[in-house]
Symmetry: C2
């Protein structure tokens, strides 16, 4: 089938969270992300691609019982959110928001009020790098299914599980320890991390909110030359997870 | 003086590298960056600010022999590159592109073909955090004085010195060691860094170019769970510098 105008309008409408929730669908753009999607357990709804792209992934889509539409690069660029990398767009089913918690031998991440889609996606990519597969996010974080978040994850959204919830309630009932980054905490180069727990990442400009800070029992600090006030949220997450990975010997 | 239309046009014209080179001037926007500028050894040319902002920084500008213009927020937003944080715009003199090299007891950074202004600025901010004060960039990197780079540095452009040069020639005549991040190098968690040297950071999508790779004598690797192919350039830089800082005991 050829991509129709009605269908293009439908793809575009999924840029809105409201519509995504109503339809239980989201959009994935670009070869890299779509190929990761096809290898994952996300339920594919439909595929919109150039004939060249479809020829290349024939094996991956052979037995899929989904609608496949052919489209030109121009049509795909029009339907999608990005100017480039639009040889393919996929639509898949949004996963149920199932509760998650860290096993007794693993760490999970907690995101408090992360607004920027690029930061949010990058943080998921960092979790994936370090083998963290559970992320618990406050309900005021940006939506995982936002096209800019999906793009920034570079495919990591298929391997890192997300759970949106009321963080305060979550942390009150959940056993810690909860590690949060501050300017006056214990040096992450010398700290001995417990064998399980949570790393709390705060908002890009205001840090961890006071409500969540009150529940964060381990204040940790990234040492530096002391000339700067802060590192960005993604950078700080990467440095903390690298130190955690080192002390846990990569067993997470 | 009030900000004039002619002057607004002049501020806007400095968004172009060609004009910046010709005029030897660049633009700094927003309170945070301008205050760092005033405390630095950059030569201030002129200041454009709201009367409220000028009242707040009276002490810092009292003895400065520069043109000061008052302007409304709307005028500043119009003259600048960003929609927000425009209570002040400054114009300062571009520094001479002076040769830099690592002392026998320090590390410097080498940037090979970094195009994205946000990444470039973030990398300078990370250098500043870890006390790295010399960055050598290939001539095809984005310009330090690009307004988006300046904004992303969050003031670090005043403390980190830059030198743009032909990297191949630089590395051929300069003593190493040169450390570059690859997927098959030595684990940064166990490597013993030398007491001086260079960390080479490659392009966001293509990595370190083959020409520069040939001169990079130490291949290093950030360990991870092995599910992802790469980390972004800024993230990788932060993790490498954190490991370097740890082994050098923060003496850099």
């Amino acid at each position: 089938m050829m991509l129709t105008k009605t269908r293009t309008r439908f793809i575009k409408s999924l840029k809105l969270k409201k519509i995504r929730i109503q339809e239980e669908l989201f959009v994935i753009e670009g070869a890299k992300n779509v190929i990761e999607l096809l290898k994952s357990n996300f339920l594919l709804h439909s595929l919109y691609a150039t004939t060249t792209f479809l020829d290349n992934i024939r094996v991956l889509v052979k037995n899929l019982n989904v609608e496949i539409f052919t489209a030109t690069d121009t049509q795909l660029a029009d339907a999608g959110s990005f100017r480039t990398n639009n040889s393919v767009i996929a639509m898949a089913k949004i996963k149920e928001n199932k509760p998650l918690s860290a096993r007794t031998d693993e760490f999970a991440l907690i995101l408090d009020d992360i607004h920027d889609p690029g930061n949010f996606g990058t943080i998921l990519r960092i979790c994936d790098w370090y083998g963290i597969s559970k992320v618990i996010a406050s309900t005021n974080c940006v939506d995982l299914y936002n096209p800019k978040v999906i793009a920034a994850t570079m495919g990591s959204f298929t391997r890192v599980n997300m759970y949106y919830t009321n963080l305060k309630e979550f942390m009150e009932k959940e056993e810690g320890p909860f590690y949060g980054t501050y300017l006056d905490g214990e040096n992450i180069h010398t700290i001995r991390f417990k064998s399980r727990g949570y790393i709390v990442v705060g908002n890009e400009s205001t840090g961890i909110s006071s409500e969540i800070s009150a529940l964060t029992d381990n204040r940790i600090t990234i040492p530096g030359a002391g000339r700067m006030e802060s590192l960005n949220a993604g950078i700080a997450t990467a440095v903390v997870l690298d130190n955690l990975y080192r002390t846990k010997g990569g067993e997470n």
